[in-house]
């Protein structure tokens, strides 16, 4: 016989397998409650490290959401931005016209309704008040409808919301012309609301007197999407 020698008689085994399974599963499920707090604490603690690393090594944190089969392509020669609806002087702006308007800059945090955020995004663009001035909206026009070149994406802001101090139509991001995946050449930026209100690839702005639900709002998301005060968050 060539049995392997046993030093000790067989002894009771311990159910570590199920403990590992149940423990990790419980930890994972409970993280639905504490995950975000832990992550925020971790990212603030890791901020010095992030500052020390070259930016190319730090993950951007962005995720790109689109609804059409491909992203719109920006061609400066043919691109136009229409401002129409309840206005006295409808406008058709070229890219150069838009860039000639008073420039505003800001650094703000971008929040997605699904739970991720990107801190300290540097935007440059035009405040809506300056953008709309030449079109002369009528007094009954209280809502801006942003029609995206990415069909059928559409969303709205009330004029009041669009007048928030940090809302703008942005054409630059982090010092460069707005990249294609972020809505080139212009997108709405309203940091106080979740990302889906920040319409990308804006092609037309229609001034209306009523709010109609936007793309995601037709699919159950809140129309007034203030960060932390909407969508059950």
């Amino acid at each position: 016989m060539m049995d392997t020698p046993r030093e000790a008689p067989p002894e009771a085994s311990r159910p570590y397998g199920r403990r590992a399974f149940l423990g990790v599963t419980a930890l994972g499920l409970s993280s639905l409650l504490w995950g975000k707090f832990a992550w925020n604490a971790f990212t603030s603690a890791a901020q010095p490290l992030e500052d020390a690393l070259p930016p190319s090594l730090v993950p951007s944190g962005w995720r790109i959401y689109t609804v059409a089969s491909s992203m719109p392509t920006f061609d400066e020669a043919t691109w136009r931005l229409g401002i129409e609806g309840l206005v006295d002087a409808p406008q058709t702006l070229t890219y150069a016209d838009l860039r000639a308007l008073p420039r505003a800059e800001q650094i703000s945090t971008f929040h997605c309704v699904t739970g991720w955020s990107v801190k300290n995004v540097h935007w440059a663009g035009v405040r809506f008040r300056d953008l709309l001035a030449a079109a002369k909206p009528r007094s009954e026009g209280t809502v801006l409808e942003f029609v995206s070149a990415e069909q059928p994406y559409v969303d709205t802001l009330t004029l009041e919301q669009a007048d928030l101090h940090d809302a703008m139509l942005a054409y630059e991001m982090d010092g460069k012309p707005l990249p294609r995946e972020h809505g080139a050449p212009v997108r709405v930026v309203i940091p106080e609301m979740y990302g889906y209100k920040n319409t990308k690839w804006v092609q037309r702005i229609v001034v209306t007197d009523h709010v109609s639900p936007g793309y995601w709002e037709q699919r159950g998301y809140d129309i007034d999407a203030f960060v932390g005060k909407s969508n059950g968050l």
């Binding site: 599963t25 994972g28 639905l32 059950g232």
Partner: protein
């Protein structure tokens, strides 16, 4: 060649058809989910591939198909065998506990690391499924939308990648363990290999099937 008929079988059966099917269905689904998930997650890939609604459907449908397939394999397969396997995976005897502390000890059909990997993989599967369903249903119902769901789903992806890299290294590259791949593809492994890596299991098999494998005919 005739002499090989009288020698002990060179191969020993390690994984049942049910176990192998479970493994490969799980693996195939994981790779499709990983690829489609990365397209949804990495901006560069999102831009390159586009067609987000389609990729999202692929991701969701694959997840659904994966859950249904696993349930079907368990329901229609060798459940008794699976129950035994589950018992083996659960039980860590003294040798397993020492092995985890890097003290070489004889191991059963699964070594302690494989048992842990199985527990973690099962746990990750449950968590992926729960967080995935929440991501999908939360889009339809506010009350199931949690700020941390996507963090859990992403975090699991990173942890799974770590497990996967280790798993692939041991299964495809590391010379002394990569023979295990034959077990999960064909079902059986070389007896001499099993004696080195899973000696307690080989001993048990010899006791359980003394006629098939008469003691004393081992080729060490």
């Amino acid at each position: 060649m005739a002499s090989s008929f009288t020698a002990a079988p060179r191969y020993i059966h390690r994984f049942s058809r049910t176990e192998r099917t479970l493994h490969w269905v799980h693996a195939a689904a994981f790779f499709v989910l990983l690829a489609s998930g990365l397209v949804l997650y990495v901006p560069r890939l999102s831009e390159l591939v586009g067609r987000r609604p389609f990729v999202k459907d692929v991701h969701f449908d694959t997840g659904l198909a994966w859950m249904v397939a696993i349930a079907l394999i368990v329901a229609l397969g060798d459940r008794r065998g699976l129950r035994n396997t589950l018992r083996e995976l659960d039980a860590f005897d003294r040798d397993d506990r020492l092995w985890l502390r890097r003290i070489p000890r004889p191991q059963g059909r699964f070594n302690a690391g494989q048992k842990l990997n199985a527990a973690l993989t099962a746990s990750f599967a449950v968590l992926f499924a729960v967080s995935g369903v929440l991501l999908w249903y939360g889009e339809r119902n506010n009350s199931y939308r949690f700020g941390s769901t996507i963090l859990l789903h992403d975090g699991l992806m990173y942890l799974s990648l770590v497990l996967l890299v280790g798993h692939l290294y041991l299964a495809l590259i590391y010379p002394s363990t990569k023979h295990a791949l034959r077990g999960i593809t064909t079902g059986s492994v070389r007896r001499d290999w099993a004696r080195v890596h899973h000696s307690k299991w080989v001993d048990e098999q010899r006791l359980a099937h003394p006629l098939v494998d008469p003691p004393g005919r081992e080729q060490e």
